[in-house]
């Protein structure tokens, strides 16, 4: 299949996915399960990475700024905040989640496909796309902004404790930098990226998993392809969103 055929099938899959659930009580239960699996399950990973990345980002800025007499020290707080909000907590976390969540969705659906569980749903008269994929997409769309906001807070906290605790920057300087020239639009920009990335990761991974055919080897391949295509789509959409929103 060429790229255009894949895009066509992906669009058809989405069309059948976004239909009314058979039973809302069951959909709600699945949604809560997905939010728990994707959101709560990813929290430790996102948390640890955010703290350490925030710490490293602030150290790198501090190392550069300390050697200069012209740049004010509060710049460390300002630059750390901007890096974390603009790129780290949105894009880098999305890339990490593409690996964790994307492969999990693709392998789950791929296994269901090769063990005929999806066929079993279809035979029962259930729209398997809507039943299996919709709660995953909606769950990830709902929880990803929270994950990213937590990542922002932890990233900035990591930066604060690293440079302030080591005495490189004074508490007042860092806090001034973090609050300086803060625009709500920056967070809106980050949230738009977050929602788009969540949709791309969950839908592309679901597409790859749902269309798996063969055996366990193919489930592995689908899983890998899901991660690769998700990452590529995140990078491409990041460029487009940034161009449209910041320029």
């Amino acid at each position: 299949m060429n790229l255009f055929e894949h895009i066509g099938l992906y669009a058809l899959l989405l069309r059948k996915t976004f239909t009314r659930p058979i039973k809302f009580s069951l959909f709600r239960r699945q949604l809560v399960h997905e939010i728990d699996q994707i959101g709560i399950g990813s929290l430790p990973l996102v948390g640890i990475i955010s703290v350490f990345m925030g710490a490293v980002i602030s150290l790198q800025f501090a190392a550069d700024i300390m050697s200069s007499q012209l740049i004010p020290k509060y710049t460390v707080g300002y630059a750390s905040r901007q890096s974390i909000i603009y790129e780290f907590s949105t894009t880098v976390v999305a890339l990490i989640l593409a690996g964790k969540v994307g492969s999990s969705i693709a392998s789950e659906l791929g296994t269901m496909r090769i063990t005929e569980q999806i066929d079993a749903l279809e035979i029962m008269g259930i729209n398997s796309r809507s039943f299996l994929i919709l709660p995953k997409i909606m769950g990830f769309l709902f929880i990803n902004p929270f994950l990213v906001m937590i990542s922002m807070v932890l990233g900035i906290s990591g930066a604060y404790f690293t440079v302030v605790a080591t005495g490189m920057i004074a508490h007042e300087d860092f806090m001034y930098g973090v609050q300086m020239d803060f625009k709500t639009f920056d967070v809106i920009y980050a949230m738009v990226k977050t929602v788009v990335f969540a949709f791309l990761i969950s839908s592309i991974s679901a597409y790859m998993g749902y269309n798996t055919s063969g055996g366990s080897l193919e489930v592995g391949k689908s899983s890998t392809q899901a991660v690769v295509y998700s990452i590529f789509s995140i990078l491409a959409s990041n460029l487009v969103i940034t161009y449209l929103m910041l320029l």
Partner: protein, 250 residues
């Protein structure tokens, strides 16, 4: 009753089913047999709509399933039960939850009624002790029985079984065969079983259709099969030494 008319199916230009016509009556165990690769599973998948035939039609009590719109197909599918070759049980659910799943989606029963129905279905397949176990914790035979219980939970009019006793020991195979047969008669279902197990054919096959290289070459009652004169069918039926010896003794 299910009527199949002029069913053809091909994949990438390679035809696997040729003009298949047949009628499967209700209250009877209908069997489709043939060698591996003869098109049995493709035939079954075309019947239940998992594959779309190139030409031909499948009629469920006069309703054309192949030409129906998506909504009608969904409605007809809710009258079907299918037992998959490997069971196709949902891994994340217990045995009881698997059986209850179709009830949760499509019935208007209350909690108590659903519980009773699950108990009834599990009792029918002798699995009342396993209702809290997960599919990974039960044997192949138990998985098949759970799949049968799930398939009959909504009182289907049509039951399809894809090699229900493959990979099972002879004793469990007979148990599964008898179970499917008794359920078919008790609930007056139209049952279609895909198999290449001659023992099943002789035990429960009331109507048998033999597929050879995608074509229907013989159709008749299960007990008539030993006297059939089609060379491919004779080769298939008497493939084992045991069957040959039994035939010679007779």
């Amino acid at each position: 009753m299910i009527e199949v008319k002029n069913l053809n199916k091909s994949f990438d230009g390679r035809q696997v089913l040729f003009d298949i016509d047949s009628t499967f009556e209700s209250g009877k165990v209908n069997m489709v047999i043939g060698r591996s690769g003869s098109g049995k599973t493709v035939f079954l998948k075309c019947m239940v709509g998992l594959l779309t035939p190139d030409t031909g039609s499948v009629l469920y009590d006069g309703r054309d399933f192949t030409a129906a719109d998506e909504k009608t197909r969904m409605m007809i599918r809710r009258e079907m039960g299918k037992v998959f070759q490997m069971g196709a049980l949902f891994d994340s659910m217990t045995v009881a939850e698997n059986v209850q799943f179709p009830l949760d989606l499509f019935s208007t029963m209350g909690k108590g009624e659903k519980k009773d129905r699950v108990e009834f279905c599990l009792e029918k397949v002798n699995l009342t002790q396993a209702h809290k176990l997960y599919p990974a914790e039960i044997s192949g035979g138990m998985k098949k029985r759970t799949a049968i219980a799930r398939a009959i939970s909504l009182n289907p009019k049509y039951l399809f079984c894809d090699e229900p006793n493959s990979g099972l020991d002879p004793e469990t195979s007979i148990l599964i065969d008898n179970l499917v047969s008794s359920l078919t008669h008790e609930f007056n279902m139209t049952t279609v079983i895909i198999s290449h197990d001659m023992n099943s054919v002789f035990e429960i096959g009331e109507k048998v259709m033999f597929l050879y290289e995608g074509r229907k070459v013989w159709e008749g009652k299960g007990r008539e099969i030993a006297g059939a004169d089609h060379p491919a069918l004779r080769e298939f039926v008497f493939a084992s030494e045991l069957m040959k010896k039994l035939h010679n003794i007779k």
